[in-house]
């Protein structure tokens, strides 16, 4: 019985299979495409604002909003601007077409037992102090914005992981605060007339536990240099990008 032909076929099939495995492995080990900029969907396009006032503001400051998105993307890599998270939105709880420059951020941090032991007001106060002042400062850097009479204020939405999923098939729960600040309050803060410790008292803060609204929160605030000093370990800044 001549078994050389089947053996030859098996050996050929084996070689082809091995080649396929090697090719797939090499393809997966090759460097992926680099993202030099954040996804374009972080800024709400002007035409998707529902009033002429909102559209005008969004069109006028579009370059500055994209710069803001890029700065957050590269310089605060632990923070994500959510889809359509930047725009001249109208706060739902306010009457009239009041347009606040808004940013909606997810803060990527692991829940710690110490942080979880705080009350929601204490957790929110810490997140407020870390992020709200620095973000309002960055948002106000758009040339001419603070002098624009169409701007009514600022909204900073902060979301973070409250607890990880309890089971492998479960879902993690996020906490969210939305901070609303009229233009006068922001102007006083930026000009140094309003100290950081009084900022939370002058702002309106609403909270959510997962999808459930917990209503207005009374927070305390203070100066916090976390955003300026925190560095993600082993993080490599993209070529050509510099951060303050």
């Amino acid at each position: 019985m001549d078994i050389s032909r089947p053996a030859h076929r098996i050996a050929q099939t084996f070689r082809r299979g091995l080649a396929a495995v090697v090719l797939v492995t090499l393809a997966m080990a090759a460097p992926g495409p680099t993202l030099a900029a954040p996804a374009d969907d972080s800024v709400l396009p002007p035409e998707q604002h529902t009033s002429e006032k909102g559209k005008r503001l969004a069109a006028r400051y579009a370059p500055a909003l994209h710069d803001l998105s890029a700065k957050v993307y590269h310089c605060m890599p632990w923070v994500e601007v959510k889809r359509n998270g930047i725009g001249f939105y109208k706060p739902k709880h306010l009457d009239g077409d009041l347009r606040y420059l808004s940013i909606n951020l997810y803060i990527d941090q692991q829940p710690s037992p110490e942080f979880a032991a705080y009350t929601i007001e204490e957790r929110a106060s810490r997140m407020f102090s870390r992020y709200v002042g620095p973000m309002v400062r960055r948002m106000s850097e758009a040339p001419g914005l603070m002098a624009d009479p169409s701007l009514d204020g600022f909204t900073v939405i902060l979301e973070w992981l409250k607890q990880a999923a309890a089971t492998p098939s479960g879902r993690p729960v996020h906490e969210t605060i939305a901070v609303f600040m009229d233009r006068a309050t922001a102007g006083d803060y930026l000009a140094g007339r309003l100290p950081a410790r009084e900022l939370a008292a002058r702002a309106r803060v609403l909270g959510w536990d997962g999808e459930t609204a917990v209503g207005p929160l009374r927070l305390t605030s203070w100066d916090d240099d976390f955003v300026a000093t925190y560095k993600v370990s082993n993080y490599q800044l993209a070529p050509g990008v510099s951060c303050p």
Partner: protein
């Protein structure tokens, strides 16, 4: 001679199969972590950064990790509940 080739190929195949098998301990570990790699990009990150070495984290790694929901879809409030366009 031809039969020797056949035996060699069979032996090599058996060795290859045995080498690719997980031990019972390895299977137990895998079952405790059923979502080992959520995607090819997650696999790429994990293979590029070997245990014991200094990891290299790019902005792309971080963005992909979030986009692909490595840690699951969260329960959270939608922006439309807070703001109007």
């Amino acid at each position: 001679m031809r039969i020797d080739h056949w035996k060699f190929l069979l032996g090599a195949s058996v060795l290859l199969v045995l080498a690719g098998c997980a031990t019972s301990d390895e299977w137990a570990t895998w079952k405790e972590h059923p979502t080992h790699f959520a995607s090819g990009d997650h696999f790429f990150f994990s293979t590029r950064n070997k245990e014991g070495g200094t990891p290299r984290v790019t902005r792309q790694d971080i963005a992909l990790a979030r986009d692909q929901g490595w840690w699951g879809k969260p329960i959270t409030v939608g922006q439309e509940a807070i703001l109007e366009r």
